[in-house]
Symmetry: none
Subunit: 415 residues, 2 copies
């Protein structure tokens, strides 16, 4: 079965808000085994909404509309959907009661006349209760044509609660065949290089398929299988997964959908009972900030240093004045002394250091913008790597952070 | 002129990523005076992409496609757009050189065969340079039909940089009727509160209009006027701008389109010849990382501390053991001592400290998740503020960073 998302709201077309509803509904529908090939956004305009809904119904089995169920005259999703399905609108007593009850609960006594617009329901529609607002959801089915329209309110909290409570169970019953997928995440390899490694697999793929996603400094591969049951899907996915493991080996940092690179780092540190510290120059706290994304990071990370000036590198980390003078702040020697000094100062088992020229200024011919040295010291053994990034200031700093985490993972895996 | 956005990528349909590109492009196009009535998303599927592009071209003057310009065989936006416009693809020598240069700069020696796919350019296309990646942007014009297709890479930083540098000026010339806009950025006030302050202005607005954009911890107000000349537009905008200044006063932190809150902070610090340091617990480097986004930050920021453990708070910042024992690490007292201790340790004129419970664990009834204390010490005078955020770990940390910057701006303006 195919589903299509149609978001209604001029505020999305103007860029006033980001369409997070679409991302949420997409992920949920994919998890329910529904194929989504199209998403659209239209404004609060009757004609264009009707046209877009007609197009959506012509190519998809289920259309989920979000937004435009409010009480104002701008809100016309319900009216348009009813017309497209040839249904009259009638006042629904239960909905009317729910609206009264909601207003009482919220201690808002003044129900304005236009609120009763929300009690109008197309004939033969299923009404879906809204516990977080006044606009009920609606399901319209045209059994003959095999088409379904689902109307959800626009506010994300109302939409999500209603979807989880009522729509997901409804959709789950509609879809007999499921889609199952498995994630493989790589670091330390570029997207095009990764794809070269699996071109032959991708060329012959039908079920399961492999889709590469380039993330900043990472590549994610999603293996997706269609099958009647999870067991059958797993049987289809397993040989592909094993082949990917054979080909990418240690470049795979996780096979867990929701595990990030920093999650893995913190997990490894915990397993080995190691503590970590950081000494950052050009990344200026971004590396530590990313590690601290992990809820359990406090168990392995006690302190870190941002050392922008040479004086701070010497005083806080003990980088030798001679090193800074002879090789400069952006040098493998300084990166090494920063990592080793940080480990010592924090009494940590592992330390990462970053020193480089993020740009846009400060580059020279010998040391251009984008030159970054990353030091990684684990249990007294230090490795320094040189990188030359070519992005803007922000990107150079973001790449440096991912490369530092990648390097640390490699080094930790030696222990 | 009408513009339509078409985002290409199965990862959007699967909900793997939120379509922030569409929100960014919508906002920018609206600011350029282009009317956008439709947005669509399709996956990496040749047939559906072609069909959707044809539909978009049938109803809009300009179609901006984003995504699908990568080197893999999934990426087929360019191929489809060329076919729709009846153009052959040719290898472009300059693009090829740019790709080689990019790889050299990135020190990635292995250019794989599929990278050269990105050097293929449709005939008579304008090539738009990409300084942050290998996929160039492309502009295809069908002058007879009056239709234009613009192809942009999917990674947001590449897309944004390219849009600002090349596409916005191009679109600006296409649109004969002038649209001029002025930005007013606020911090320290919520979106709905800000809207309440200007409801009366928004209700009567025709030319110019005021559009509020809610950003994380900030509200941006864009005043947009339609006029024959910039002078006439300015004359229309000025009274509205003055009214906003009257109503919001010091909450306006900048009227410059491209100036961020951290830019303003660094600018003020430079003007006053002040240096800044940071002492972070729950934000763990994110605050320093954001200040370091500013290219000139090295002039005002020498060092900073990430002090997660109590021991680090005492040793690095001199927070009294008694304070930690009596009031706890998450307390106004600790925030104060962290800020004052950091200023002293770094020999800085100003210091920001953050200590709180970002979640998801660690909350108690008295000190729930989301409780954050921010200390701001300037020239020996310290102010501490309590915040109660209600987001997830990431959101709470992000909000803490914005609130810290907002507080510092307020305090710096006293000097």
């Amino acid at each position: 079965m195919t589903v299509e998302l149609l978001s209604v709201g001029t505020e999305i077309l103007l860029g006033n808000i980001v369409n997070t509803n679409a991302a949420y509904l997409s992920e949920r529908c994919a998890a329910l085994g529904l194929s989504c090939y199209h998403q659209s956004v239209v404004g609060d305009n009757e004609e264009r909404l009707e046209e877009t809904l007609q197009t959506a119904l012509s190519r998809s089995d289920i259309v989920i509309l979000s937004g435009g169920l409010g009480p104002t005259k701008d809100d016309l999703t319900k009216e348009v959907a009813a017309r497209v399905f040839g249904r009259e609108l009638h006042e629904d007593v239960h909905v009317k009661e729910s609206i009264s009850a909601y207003f009482q609960k919220m201690k808002r006594t003044q129900i304005t006349e236009n609120n009763w617009k929300q009690a109008l329901v197309p004939e033969d529609a299923r009404v879906v209760e809204n516990h977080n607002g006044t606009a009920p959801g609606l399901i319209l089915e045209d059994r003959e044509a095999g088409k379904t329209v689902i109307l959800l309110p626009g506010p994300p909290d109302e939409l999500k609660a209603m979807f989880e409570e009522s729509i997901a169970p409804y959709l789950d019953e509609l879809e007999p065949e499921g889609i199952y997928s498995k994630m493989v995440k790589l670091c330390g390899i570029g997207e095009s290089k990764a794809e070269t490694v699996i071109t032959d697999l991708m060329e012959v793929q039908t079920n399961p398929t492999i889709a590469p996603y380039a993330k900043l400094g990472e590549v994610h591969l999603r293996i997706t299988a269609k099958a009647e049951s999870e067991e059958k899907a797993e049987a289809l996915i397993l040989p592909v997964l094993e082949e990917l493991r054979r080909r990418f080996g240690d470049l795979i940092y996780t096979e867990e959908e929701k595990e990030s690179l920093e999650d893995v780092i913190v997990r490894i540190l915990k397993e080995k009972k190691f503590t970590l510290t950081t000494a950052e120059s050009c990344t200026g706290g971004k590396l530590a900030g990313r590690i601290m994304n992990v809820a359990g990071a406090s168990g392995v990370y006690n302190e870190g240093y941002i050392t922008y000036s040479n004086e701070a590198k010497s005083r806080l980390l003990g980088v030798a004045a001679g090193t800074l003078e002879q090789y400069g702040a952006v040098s493998p020697q300084t990166a090494r002394e920063m990592a080793e000094g940080a480990a010592k100062a924090a009494g940590a088992d592992a330390a990462l250091s970053v020193t480089g020229i993020a740009g846009p200024d400060g580059g020279t011919k010998e040391k251009p913008v984008g030159l970054v040295y990353i030091g990684c010291s684990v249990k007294g053994h230090t490795r320094v790597e040189e990188f030359r990034f070519s992005g803007n200031r922000e990107k150079n700093r973001d790449y440096a952070v991912v490369r530092a985490l990648t390097l640390l993972r490699e080094e930790l895996n030696q222990y």
